[in-house]
């Protein structure tokens, strides 16, 4: 059936209710809700979240915004916590201790702090062991929950509270880690990078594939943060679009080792278009700092080319 956003929003449960306390203009709940819509109506899910913005804003005792079973334990262990839940499911199913027609899907959410950094070990372990689960990283490019500290997902030159743009050091000095490629090199059946753009078709279809591919799957989803990035709440969708159009955030999937870039902009926009909307890059536009934008552009181009090469290489007959 062809994707139709109106029908999906009208007919498919978001599994994630209103009333949560995420900020206006935050990319994460938009992403989480649409991913959860990809669940089949007859299926249930156990959702696991790493400590982070999403957890502390959606499950404040005694209220929860999650309609499915939900578990949070700590910051660095969404991968291993959900491994345990999934192992229990397998065990109980095998022993006939759960209804035969019960189909439960396992979905983890972690920010870039809980995924790229403190949680990468538990994530890597869970994926390598082959648990039947989907791990979603909502990447907002810094530790936003604790007040905008740099992470290994923070882009170079970004102004954060632990990499302030100072007189001597102009923001974060290192390039960001490429987690989707790291996960692709775990040789998982399905890895994708996406964001919420247009009618969210790319996001939805990747979520559906990730959830319904047997085995461990990984989604890296850009989730802008108005506080950390410095944009106004109504600019969320515009920022997402520019991230894709500048190829800052390439959208692609890796299916059984084959790379497919799912969005190639007809005209690749210069990176300034993405950077200038955000206060965290403001200092890059000061006179004398043109080199920063050049360096940033070079890195974006290099990574885009790397992906084009991977796509070509892995799809040769």
């Amino acid at each position: 059936m062809a994707y139709n956003m109106k029908e999906i929003v009208a007919n498919k449960r978001p599994h994630f209710t209103e009333g949560h306390r995420m900020c206006a203009g935050c990319g994460a709940p938009v992403v989480a809700r649409h991913i959860m819509r990809a669940l089949k109506e007859e299926d249930t899910a156990v959702v696991c979240s790493a400590t982070g913005c999403m957890e502390v804003s959606t499950f404040i005792y005694p209220y929860t915004a999650w309609e499915d079973s939900f578990i949070h334990t700590a910051f660095e262990c969404a991968g291993s916590t959900l491994s345990g839940v999934e192992a229990a499911y397998k065990s109980l199913k095998k022993q006939g201790k759960l209804p035969e027609d019960q189909h439960t899907k396992f979905i983890a959410f972690g920010g870039d702090g809980g995924t790229y950094d403190i949680g990468i070990q538990a994530l890597s372990g869970a994926m390598e062991r082959g648990h039947d689960m989907t791990y979603v990283c909502y990447d907002n490019g810094a530790y936003m929950n604790t007040g905008i500290q740099r992470s290994s997902a923070t882009p170079r030159f970004a102004d954060t509270t632990t990499t302030p743009a100072g007189k001597v050091i102009p923001g974060k000095m290192q390039n960001r880690k490429d987690l989707a490629l790291i996960m692709a090199n775990h040789h998982l059946p399905y890895v994708a990078q996406t964001l919420a753009m247009g009618d969210f078709k790319d996001l939805y279809e990747k979520a559906e594939k990730a959830i319904y591919t047997e085995g461990p799957t990984f989604l890296n989803v850009l989730a802008p943060c108005p506080r950390g990035w410095g944009y106004t709440t109504d600019e969320l969708m515009e920022i997402n679009k520019l991230a894709a159009q500048t190829c800052y955030w390439p959208m692609y999937e890796v299916v059984d080792g084959k790379y497919h870039i799912t969005y190639k902009p007809a005209k690749k926009l210069p990176i300034e278009e993405f950077l200038k909307k955000q206060k965290r890059f403001k200092h890059m536009f000061k006179e004398g700092n043109e080199w920063m934008i050049e360096e940033f552009q070079k890195e974006v181009d290099r990574r885009w080319q790397e992906l084009l090469d991977l796509e070509e290489m892995t799809n040769k007959e």
Binding site: A74, E76, S83, G84, Q95, A122
Partner: protein, 394 residues
């Protein structure tokens, strides 16, 4: 019918786990407990158990996976030692706060640093206030029996707390001793099935576990944990009674060995109790009224019962196989002496830190403690209350 066997402490623990047949085991190898997951994976590989074995990449993940599995509605078990437990530390507290009756076999070893793989109790003592029930085992038989009783205690509706069964690394984990095993079917009957009231995989009643729990609630939730710990004492005794009916082997909160008429008493846990019993027997032959209180249940701490059991003796030595590095004494010493104060028992009591990092504790060492106690009982002179046994100062 019980079956006579010869097993090491690790084999005995793995055998108990096999008979319990938990739904999930998640573990990461660490000396001296490594053999437990090793033996257990053989049971899994041969289809002897129904368990999903999760060979995690760290102990932090082992406990996280156990939490996930237990919250999902299954029985989860693990085994670890020393630094493995240290790495779990964060999750140890989360497991008890979520009221998940996970059962762990803790093969006691010195926590780094410096690195040492041998036995002491610094691992267990580091988590003594984490909300886990803690049972100690003198020998292989007790390690086995404590595991067979573990789920009945931990899963009881008045308790719902995780439980660890401790035994001494190498000293009992790797020594082969005679043991009485129970039949698989009898164990299955005794342990029973796990029927949690609320669990993640119940599709009829989705639940949310592990909230952000702020000022209006956390205090009450911690108090509920404390209530459960208090309630567990009676459950431990009730389960022990049922166990005795079944196997004939008797367990309590602690074992009193020739304590009834004793004048000089040692308090200790785990394998040193065996050495102490031997010394007590020898001293009794010489007419010295020596006795032993071997603590089995350390959490909940039976302070009142201990105070009562020791109230008639003339001098007490508490042996701690872990130094608290607080300039005031080891953990068990502090617990025993503060209970004495609360229950108005006034007996000269001294503390010996011993056996650190696997330092051998011989019968002569224990005998020297009784000799010290005889002097204290006679003169009332405690001298230095915080002492060392078997320490070289040269």
């Amino acid at each position: 019918m019980s079956i006579r066997e010869r097993l090491s402490g690790n084999e005995a623990s793995a055998t108990a786990m096999k008979q319990i047949n938990p739904d999930v085991v998640a573990a990461f190898p660490i000396t001296p407990s490594t053999e437990i997951p090793q033996y257990f994976s053989t049971f899994v590989a041969n289809g002897t158990v129904d368990t999903e074995f999760v060979a995690v990449e760290s102990e932090h993940s082992a406990m996280s996976a156990c939490i996930g599995a237990e919250a999902a509605g299954s029985r989860a078990m693990t085994a670890t030692s020393a630094n493995g437990l240290s790495l779990m530390w964060e999750m140890i507290y989360i497991a008890s706060s979520l009221r998940l009756p996970i059962v762990m076999s803790l093969v006691n070893r010195a926590v780094s640093g410096p690195l040492n793989i041998h036995n002491d109790h610094s691992d267990a003592m580091g988590v003594r206030d984490a909300g886990w029930i803690m049972l100690f085992s003198e020998n292989n038989q007790e390690a086995y029996d404590n595991l067979l009783m573990a789920h009945r205690i931990a899963e009881h509706k008045d308790v719902l707390l995780p439980l660890m069964v401790c035994q001494d690394g190498f000293i009992t984990s790797h020594s082969i001793e005679n043991i009485m095993l129970e039949e698989d079917s009898e164990v299955k009957k005794f342990v029973g099935t796990y029927n949690p009231e609320h669990y993640l995989l119940n599709r009829k009643e989705p639940i949310a576990v592990g909230p952000l729990d702020v000022q209006p609630y956390l205090f009450e939730h911690k108090a509920q944990q404390a209530d459960a710990m208090r309630a567990s004492k009676q459950v431990i005794l009730d389960v022990a009674k049922d166990f005795e009916k079944w196997t004939g082997r008797k367990y309590g909160l602690f074992e009193e060995y020739k304590l009834e008429d004793a004048e000089l008493a040692i308090v200790c846990v785990n394998s040193t109790a065996g050495t102490t019993k031997y010394v007590v027997d020898r001293l009794r032959e010489k007419g010295i009224k020596a006795g032993l209180l071997k603590l089995r249940v350390y959490r909940p701490f039976p302070g009142e019962e201990i105070s009562k059991a020791l109230s008639h003796v003339k001098a007490v030595a508490v042996l701690d196989k872990s130094d608290s590095l607080n300039s005031a004494g080891g953990a068990i010493f502090t617990d025993v002496t503060s209970s004495f104060q609360v229950h108005k028992v006034n007996i000269p009591t001294v503390n010996y830190i011993y056996g650190i990092g696997g330092r051998d504790t011989k019968s002569d060492d224990i005998e020297s403690v009784y000799k010290d106690l005889a002097y204290i009982a006679k003169t009332g002179d405690i001298g230095i209350p915080y002492r060392y046994l078997g320490l070289r100062r040269d």
